[in-house]
């Protein structure tokens, strides 16, 4: 809301001896909750621009549109020559606004003398636009009437003192009374004292007598009050300068005197008004009613709008004249040809105005005020003041009888207020007397009521309905900055507050497991990233398995879609963390970051009601370890790229550290259509993994917890990823609720304790190590051996480790590689003897040879 300081001051009878500067006013309002977000002095950069008189004028010899003018002001002894291109240069004796050499028009613009088509011009004559007073740039300013009565050489800021400093004030949504200069004036008075200046308004005439207008309001719930006033024989013309300038300052385009006046009064009193061309109203009938379905109206912005029964309109017998409270209709608008007008002052139901305005995406100064609530008791003042201004500025006669339809008027609200309560809430002790004193200049009428205070709140303060509202008012006027600072709870921490149930299922457990996950992954050298919760349909389709019809899997996935996304790229709530991480990888690739090792912990979404929001964790590796290695073949040193084993290692550390027991990695099924490994956690249905280089992570009771693997080539192409990358994604919510989670061992109730492992006794007896060495087909996955060793099911075999793989040397047959494993045996009950171990070890060797068809070395 823009407020002009001089306009504001016109409403205030300052207390004796007090004057406040615009800056002081702004600070004061800000601290009272009306944040002054901007303060612009219209004249701040305009200096040396003064009134001057024309003493001679002649055409420019080298131009057909320039004029050479001689001006004088109080400082010039002789006429000074100025060249001007305006079509409206007044005759000799006329006064103009002269920016002399040395004058400034903007912070970085100082005028000098300049040759125009061979003639030297000392400064220039100014138009309104050049001074920022309006958009008028066709002609220069000509000072006439009162404006010409100042001595020559008077600064323009003094001549046009009706505009000075403009405040941009943020008005809270519950204070519609502040959407006009008068309302702000009330605030200033409440803060510093003084009183409102009363305008003398003519008698409001006779109500509903001479019935040349037929006014009917069909529903007083939708239109609380309607006043129609007839003004005849008006002359529609441009507005006076002061009004134009003020409207320009508050951001309104000047149109004509009648229309400008309705706007001016709105910005003055906060009450929207509308003027109809009476000759366009059929049968002198004004009907305020619900619109009919299919009815249309073309509004002032020349847009035809089709209406529904939810809209309130002002109509005559045949046409819709206006969209009530939002915008007038083109058909009945006031034009230069208008003779007679009907001035509307009304209050409409905030909700219906808001609905209509929202539906048409049509927000006007008028709808902005009606939505917030306009005081019905202010209607007559607004109507009368506007009528009076029209009479003064556009001529015309006010029909002494006006037409009014009204519902029940709201009486002022009476509130009993306890000083004790006020003191408790604010934290400052207030007596009855102090409260009454504090509200003395506010618009609230206060009286003593035994120990309490009786507050009578005016109807324009719709925000004051309860005791607490008045307490806030007391605090506001007392000054929030005066409230002391006490550290709460220093002496008063309640004995451990009881939190019986948690507001969101597992909420603290979720918070804790996320933090635990964060720590584990950070310790693995990964960096946490956070991406937006949205993604695009394309991005999810690229990684999902339901992209092909006729899939052998019947399951189709529906993603959680936004009804009103900001951009198409953000239309889906991510069902998995992978797409945004891949996008982040691409972003980094494009910015020259070739190694990306990141993790993200965040919610993913699906339409399944049980899984609407699930907490996931995901890891992505791409690029290189910081280590370097000798490359035997190429006899150089090279970087080691991240691969599947890195993600597997992290997955293992993660699962162990988070407290999972008996989880396993199983190969992924291959999707026939996409040739990708399938992964399905929390209904994500992903086809993002390489079919062979991928694994599902399965809990002890066979629930799918997550997956690890290399990104499949199709997805790499779709995302434009140029380097191999491996990922892991796990559902933390599934882990949290999974019964095999080791923290369930003790108590089921306390879900907040993560990973409470129970101590295992430390081995008392020594272990014995034996080697296992054999030749096997080249490129055999160590996992195959691992599997056989596991299958032997030897309780005394407590650990095994791949020590070495070698090939291309003596003794190793062609096409084979040598493998050396180290097997550790131990018993918890005794020290094992060599004989015992040898027997078991031989059995295991036989098993390996038999199952894998290897040659013992």
């Amino acid at each position: 809301m823009l407020i002009v300081f001089s306009w504001l001051c016109e409403h205030i009878d300052m207390p004796h001896g007090i004057s406040i500067s615009p800056q002081e006013t702004a600070d004061m309002l800000t601290h009272a909750g009306l944040e002054v977000e901007g303060l612009i002095d219209v004249w701040q950069h305009i200096h040396g621009v003064t009134s001057a008189k024309i003493v001679d004028k002649k055409p420019h010899p080298n131009s057909d549109h320039l004029t050479i003018i001689h001006v004088i002001d109080n400082e010039t002894n002789e006429p000074v020559e100025v060249v001007c291109g305006a079509p409206n240069v007044p005759d000799i004796g006329g006064q103009v606004v002269w920016a002399k050499p040395g004058a400034t028009l903007a912070s970085d613009f100082t005028l000098g003398s300049k040759k125009l088509r061979g003639v030297m011009s000392a400064g220039m004559l100014c138009s309104e636009k050049e001074l920022g007073l309006s958009n008028e740039h066709e002609g220069i300013i000509v000072l006439e009437g009162d404006y010409a009565k100042h001595p020559l050489g008077t600064e323009i800021s003094t001549i046009y003192n009706h505009v000075d400093v403009v405040f941009d004030i943020g008005i809270p949504a519950n204070r519609p009374d502040l959407l006009g200069h008068k309302g702000i004036a009330r605030e200033v008075i409440a803060l510093i004292g003084g009183k409102l200046k009363q305008r003398h308004l003519a008698n409001d005439g006779n109500k509903n007598k001479d019935s040349n207008i037929d006014l009917s309001v069909t529903d007083h719930n939708q239109c609380h009050h309607y006043v129609a006033r007839e003004i005849t024989k008006v002359t529609v013309a441009p507005s006076p300068l002061w009004m134009k300038h003020r409207l320009h300052a508050v951001g309104v385009r000047s149109i004509s005197n009648v229309i400008d006046i309705t706007n001016y009064v709105m910005f003055d009193l906060g009450h929207p008004l509308h003027a109809f061309d009476k000759d366009c109203i059929e049968n002198n009938q004004i009907i305020v009613r619900q619109a009919k379905d299919g009815e249309t109206v073309t509004t002032l912005d020349s847009v035809e709008r089709s209406l529904t029964t939810n809209d309130i309109v002002v109509a005559d017998t045949t046409n819709v004249l206006a969209l009530a409270g939002v915008m007038g209709g083109k058909h009945s608008q006031v034009t230069e040809q208008t003779n007679h007008i009907i001035l509307e002052a009304a209050t409409f139901e905030p909700t219906s105005v808001r609905k209509t305005s929202k539906r048409f995406k049509l927000s006007s100064e008028s709808s902005h005020r009606f939505e917030r609530g306009v005081d019905t008791n202010g209607i007559n003042e607004a109507s009368l003041y506007a009528a009076q201004l029209i009479k003064e500025l556009a001529g015309g006669q006010i029909n002494p009888s006006y037409h009014e339809q009204q519902g029940t008027l709201k009486p002022p609200v009476k509130i009993i207020l306890s000083p004790l309560k006020a003191s408790f809430v604010i934290g400052v002790e207030f007596s009855q007397k102090q409260i009454i004193e504090g509200l003395k200049f506010s618009s609230i009428d206060v009286h003593c009521d035994e120990e309490n205070v009786l507050a009578i709140c005016p109807t324009f303060r719709a925000d004051l309905t309860r005791e607490i509202d008045v307490i806030e008012e007391i605090a506001r006027l007392y000054g929030f900055y005066n409230i002391p600072t006490r550290l709460y709870g220093l002496h008063n921490i309640p004995s451990s507050p009881k939190f019986t149930t948690t507001p969101h299922q597992n909420n603290l457990a979720t918070y804790n497991i996320a933090n635990r996950a964060r720590e584990i992954l950070m310790q693995q050298g990964l960096s946490e990233m956070i991406s937006l919760g949205f993604t695009s349909t394309q991005r999810v389709t690229d990684v999902s398995w339901n992209q092909h019809n006729g899939s052998s899997y019947n399951k189709t996935v529906e993603w959680l879609k936004l009804e009103n996304p900001l951009v198409v790229d953000h239309e889906i709530m991510r069902p998995t963390l992978i797409p945004n991480m891949l996008s982040a990888l691409v972003y980094n690739q494009n910015h020259g970051n070739d190694t990306v090792t990141v993790f993200e912990i965040g919610n993913v979404f699906s339409v399944e009601s049980d899984h609407k929001q699930r907490l996931h964790v995901a890891v992505l590796f791409s690029g290189y370890h910081e280590e370097w290695t000798k490359n035997e073949k190429r006899e150089g040193i090279e970087r080691i790229a991240y691969n599947f084993w890195d993600i597997e290692a992290v997955a293992k550390v993660f699962c162990d550290s988070i407290g999972l027991i008996d989880y396993k990695f199983t190969p992924c099924e291959t999707d026939q259509n996409t040739h990708a490994g399938r992964a399905d956690i929390d209904h994500t249905c992903l086809s993002v993994l390489h079919p062979n280089i991928s694994k599902n992570i399965i809990s002890a009771n066979n629930e799918s917890l997550g997956f690890i693997g290399e990104i499949t080539p199709m997805v790499m192409n779709a995302y434009d990823i140029d380097k191999p990358c491996v990922v892991m994604e796990l559902s933390l919510d599934t882990i949290n609720t999974d019964s095999t989670h080791s923290n369930r061992s003790s108590s089921n109730d306390d879900k907040t304790k993560t990973t409470q492992r129970q101590m295992q006794p430390i081995a008392k007896f020594p272990s014995i190590v034996r080697d296992l060495s054999f030749f096997i087909e080249n490129d055999t996955s160590p996992e195959r051996i691992q599997k056989v060793l596991e299958a032997c099911n030897q309780p005394l075999l407590v650990a095994y480790k791949l020590m070495e793989i070698y090939r291309d040397i003596e003794h190793v047959p062609k096409g084979k590689e040598g493998m050396l494993w180290s097997l550790t045996y131990r018993s918890d009950n005794k020290t094992l003897t060599d004989t015992e171990i040898d027997a078991i070890h031989e059995k295991i060797i036989d098993e390996v040879i038999f199952t894998l068809k290897v040659t013992r070395r």
Binding site: P497, Y511, E528, N564, M573, T597
Partner: protein, 357 residues
């Protein structure tokens, strides 16, 4: 005849050992000493060899030779043990001669991981408030109209909704626009007293360059049977700012309107960037020396009314309980504390940014 030569041979052994040891000098090591020991004193060593021949001697010679042999044996043992002592000294000296240049550097370096700036800030905040008895509460990002708006005194078609442009999934499902619904969920599910701190992700349909459509907020709610006031709220927030920024920064309240608190206030803190500099040079606070950081206020009775009618009881009554609530942007706090100029850095996932914190 033999006896004499044997004795003199024995005597030369003693000298030989000392010669050999000193001949090695610094090259002496444990295995050399062991070899020497075996050579002279071992089962098949020189001394043992001599002793073997003694069988054929007369008792007189045998005694004489035996005495010499034992004496020489002891001498050699002494020489060997001296050599060991010398060796230990040598080893120690050598060890102390090692410098960093002698330590081979291997390429396996530990990599530092990073917790996101926002997570760090959130954990700090939770920690500060948990010391004052606040417990973490969370809520879902998908919310309903009641929790996100109505229970907070923002009915449909209320102008206050303009402040928060909302993403909708459908009529009754939206992306929460603030963490305030966690207040509601908490009160619906538990009885007072309450002290919760609720960090979380929120969404607003904002597309200007200084806003992100997703960002993070922290909400706190306190409900007590004891009297709590605006002064207490101010104190707690001041304490928090001090702890979080580790600086003595002042705060101030300005009246403001949030439908679910009354009196409601906007919280400004002293600019952490320009405290030492001149007034005009600060781009963060634009020379005002104050930064707007939070909204707060005393819980509005309307919230208790909504909660009571939903709970169908009157546990939450303004007569028995009072309290306050506040909320602030986690992003802004983290950005101010760490000098991050653009919110986009937080969500862009550039590893050059992530690796800094």
């Amino acid at each position: 005849m033999e006896t004499d030569s044997i004795v003199s041979q024995l005597k030369t052994f003693g000298d030989e050992v000392d010669h050999e040891i000193s001949a090695y000098g610094e090259a002496l090591d444990a295995s050399i000493i062991e070899t020497l020991r075996i050579k002279y004193l071992g089962k098949k060593g020189h001394i043992a060899g001599v002793m073997k021949q003694m069988g054929q001697m007369t008792p007189e010679d045998r005694r004489k030779t035996g005495e010499v042999a034992n004496k020489i044996k002891k001498q050699i043992e002494r020489s060997i043990s001296n050599a060991k002592i010398t060796l230990e000294k040598l080893i120690l000296e050598k060890n102390f001669k090692r410098t960093l240049d002698d330590i081979p550097s291997h390429p396996f370096k530990k990599k530092q991981g990073n917790i996101h700036l926002l997570s760090q800030a959130r954990n700090d905040i939770v920690h500060i408030f948990s010391q004052r008895g606040f417990t973490v509460a969370t809520g879902p990002e998908l919310e309903n109209e009641f929790n996100n708006f109505e229970a907070l005194g923002i009915p449909k078609h209320h102008p206050a909704r303009d402040m928060q442009d909302t993403f909708y999934i459908d009529k009754n499902c939206l992306l929460r626009t603030h963490t305030s619904p966690v207040q509601i969920r908490t009160m619906l599910n538990q009885e007072p007293p309450i002290r919760i701190i609720a960090p979380g992700t929120v969404y607003r349909r904002d597309d200007d360059p200084t806003h992100s459509p997703m960002f993070m907020q922290v909400e706190a709610l306190l409900i007590e049977p004891y009297v709590v006031s605006m002064a207490d709220l101010k104190g707690l927030l001041h304490h928090f700012i001090e702890q979080f920024f580790q600086k003595d920064l002042g705060i101030r309240f300005r009246p403001s309107y949030f439908p679910f608190v009354e009196p409601g206030a906007e919280v400004d803190m002293e600019c952490s960037f320009c405290s030492q500099k001149t007034k005009d040079s600060c781009r963060v606070c634009k020379g005002t020396r104050w930064l707007e950081i939070a909204g707060c206020g005393m819980v509005d009775p309307v919230v208790f009314e909504k909660i009571s009618s939903k709970r169908q009881d009157s546990v939450y009554s303004s007569d028995n309980y009072n309290g306050f609530a506040f909320g602030f942007g986690l992003d802004r706090m983290a950005m101010l504390r760490h000098g991050v100029s653009n919110i986009r850095h937080l969500y862009e996932s550039d590893v050059r940014f992530l690796r800094q914190f």
